[in-house]
């Protein structure tokens, strides 16, 4: 049983502790390891809120052809080079991981997969820097290709390998979003080398750095490798959802 004195004392200690809270917070922020932990936790919290807000039925706004940004005013943001010199004649896309059978597709094979609808959409590309453009993108749905190769329906992630050492990983819900495309045409023309020929990702539900160019490999997996994404490994949000 607590006597009134004990209770009083305990409340005092609790108040003393509360008074220490700002001090503890300041100490955590001043210590470099503590600061890193705080900021990493903040990003994790943001990513988890972001993922919770995702609804498959929520479509990104689409635009009229008139609103599409002309190619000469369409920025090219590449981290190393505008052209990793992919040999388009021997290029193949390998789809591996949790799929019924591992397969490699040539560009012609991808285009002739008759069960796969071609999709053309005018959607907004938003860069993490803050600028945005409207693109006209043509290709096939990531979800359709995954169904075609018999990807395990419960798989959680899609890892993307590129010809220029760029790499990405995407949560499966976003990858399977109906507007997520493997894009081989922009503005009615075959994808140019600057924009990622022959194949790039277009996901209007994600920030620009998630839209990998020069794709050579897709891997369906339940376990993310240590390499999460080129920019993510340098500090950007992994989820990157809009």
């Amino acid at each position: 049983m607590d006597g009134p004195v004990d209770r009083h004392r305990r409340r005092r200690t609790r108040r003393e502790l509360l008074k220490m809270a700002p001090l503890a917070a300041a100490a955590a922020l001043l210590h470099p390891g503590g600061l890193e932990w705080v900021l990493r936790s903040g990003m994790k919290a943001s990513d988890s809120v972001s993922a919770r807000l995702f609804r498959e039925s929520a479509l990104a706004p689409t635009f009229s052809d008139r609103e599409v940004t002309p190619l000469d005013r369409y920025p090219v943001n590449s981290y190393l080079t505008d052209d990793p010199e992919v040999d388009l004649d021997t290029w193949q896309l390998e789809v591996s991981g949790l799929v019924r059978r591992v397969r490699a597709f040539t560009l012609d094979e991808l285009r002739r997969l008759d069960r796969l609808d071609r999709v053309v959409q005018n959607t907004r590309h938003i860069c993490i820097e803050g600028w945005d453009v409207i693109g006209n993108f043509g290709g096939i749905r990531v979800a359709d290709l995954l169904a075609h190769v018999g990807a395990y329906p419960g798989a959680r992630y899609l890892e993307v390998e590129c010809a220029d050492d760029y790499y990405e990983s995407i949560d499966m819900a976003s990858a399977r979003h109906p507007q997520s495309l493997l894009c081989d045409e922009m503005h009615g023309q075959p994808l140019s080398r600057a924009h990622g020929a022959p194949l790039r990702l277009v996901m209007p539900t994600k920030l620009g750095y998630k839209q990998a160019k020069y794709i050579v490999g897709l891997r369906v997996t339940n376990v993310l490798s240590a390499r999460r994404g080129y920019w993510e490994d340098r500090g950007y949000s992994w989820y990157g959802g809009l």
Binding site: G42, M43, A60, R73, I128, G130, W131, D132, V133, L242
Partner: protein
């Protein structure tokens, strides 16, 4: 209540200091984020509005600034929500919320601050000018949170973005509200300095000023 006319309740004091920590961090990291694309128009060609000096930026680069921004934004949202609920439930909002009947008190107060008139008699905790300043600052905070969420989730919250006038306009609104709030801070600090140590201390201890 444990606090007197000018004493601040514990909840208000706690929220005040959490927000006082969050806002400078959000301002400085926001300017670093803006520096990555210091424009409100197209990327090509890019028309630079202005480049914030490095001394007022936080984060070192865009990625670092975003980490600060998206960590401290939750502090602001959390403390702001607690504050709003507390003010609504306790009825304390009447002390700070500028209402139409405060309009009459504005001009005498401005004359007084400009050393052109006597100090008007005090009938309430905060004078009309103070209430206007607090109400505008709180309103700007709300605008910053709402436009910030719209910029963060322009697809999931596409309806909100449309209601606010579109993605690019929301960026401008977020920036403008930041400027307004930044303008409130020096005025607030000057008034605190003019009103002395006791007043400042009461925001820590809750004691009567």
């Amino acid at each position: 209540m444990r606090t007197g006319r000018l004493g601040h309740p514990a909840t208000v004091r706690f929220c005040h200091w959490v927000i006082a920590l969050a806002i400078p961090v959000l301002l400085a990291s926001g300017l670093e984020i803006f520096a990555a694309f210091p424009s409100f128009g197209d990327k090509v060609p890019e028309q630079v509005v202005f480049t914030p000096p490095e001394a007022v930026r936080l984060g070192g680069w865009l990625g670092g600034a975003l980490q600060w921004h998206f960590t401290f934004a939750w502090l602001l949202i959390g403390a702001g929500t607690v504050y709003a609920i507390y003010q609504a439930v306790s009825g304390n909002y009447r002390q700070v919320l500028f209402v139409s009947r405060d309009v009459a008190g504005l001009w005498p107060m401005i004359r007084h601050y400009a050393l052109r008139g006597p100090k008007p008699a005090e009938h309430q905790t905060y004078n009309a000018l103070q209430k206007l300043a607090y109400t505008v600052a709180l309103g700007l905070g709300l605008v910053l949170v709402v436009t910030g969420l719209a910029l963060y989730k322009p697809v999931q919250l596409s309806g909100l973005v449309a209601a606010l006038g579109g993605f690019r306009l929301v960026r401008i609104e977020h920036f403008a509200a930041m400027c307004g709030l930044a303008a409130f801070i020096p005025g607030h600090l000057v008034m605190v300095a003019l009103h002395g140590w006791k007043n400042f201390a009461s925001m820590w201890t809750g004691s009567k000023a």
